[in-house]
Amino acid sequence: MSGGILTRRKERAGWLFVAPALIAIAVFFCIPVISALFLSLTDFDIYALADLDNLRFIGVQNYERLLTNPLFWGAMKNTALFSVIGVPLSIAASLGAAVILNARVVKWRPIWRVMFFAPYVTTLVATAVLWNYLLHTKYGVINWALQGVGLPAVDWLGQPQTSIPAILMFVVWKIFGYNMLIFLAVLQTVPDDLYEAARIDGAGPWTQFKQVTLPAIAPTLLLVSIISVAGFFQLFAEPYVMTQGGPAQSTVTVLYFMYEEGFKWWNLGSASAVAFILFLCIFAVTLVQLAVAKRLGGDQ
């Protein structure tokens, strides 16, 4: 009998201990998400802001209207382009830097590590403005370097074909240090014996990378790719600062579209619907990634 009371008391103590965290999650996560879901089913706009009587429940009309809006599909297409090019590019940059930096023969490794991480910890808006100067058609350092080797100058942020690659250059430069640190951490856990055994079996650097390094870091690779996809799907500040969505709407991402819908046109209900569609997209892609990882892992 006394044992039962003791467990109940322990249980209550446990709930008390987790209560602060649960309350914080409820207040700052659950309630906003549920109200956003409710908001996305109403026509909350600037009239409703003035007087809540103007708020009407309109079911899924926001979603229907979005799915027939070519601007929304343009934003979806741009976001997909950003992610399809950006995620592999940033992962390749991070992994490449990590593998090179992990080599024993490289000197002053902590110093390089700090240098590679520096862009990640500098202010996003400041570096975005800086890259606007670097990418300037006339006075930019990048075009100066291109012309120095005999290539024509490129109007990086001024034409739809190059605006996404230009912003991606900046994004990859900015974020590759973070994933590099994750990769470095996991690369250091790969035992040297495996490389030694592979060398003795006659494996070159590429075979060693493919047969030893990749299987060892596969779980981390999955984690990094999931985080990267979520990050690239939520690209906003970079196009907002560098191009304001232009030229010709070529850098309007879903989040940028949501921002304009919500805080330029004050269609907050519609903006909430955009947020939920984006959430569903990220969720779906993550599920696909997990399924692919499971399939690949099952083969080995």
Binding site: A103, Y139, W144
Partner: protein
């Protein structure tokens, strides 16, 4: 083993140059007079450093 080590160190230094150049240039430009950065070719170093 020796040439490989040199190659890897050079590769790291090259990446560091690419990564740090924008930040270094930002610092350099911050000491230029107004409008000095907007010429072609872009100046790497301020002519008359000023705060």
């Amino acid at each position: 083993m020796k040439p490989k080590a040199i190659l890897l160190n050079l590769a790291v230094a090259f990446i560091a140059l690419l990564v740090l150049f924008p930040l270094a240039w930002m610092t350099s430009v911050s000491f230029m007079t107004a409008g000095e950065a907007a010429v072609f070719p872009p100046p790497l170093w301020p002519k008359h450093p000023t705060l």
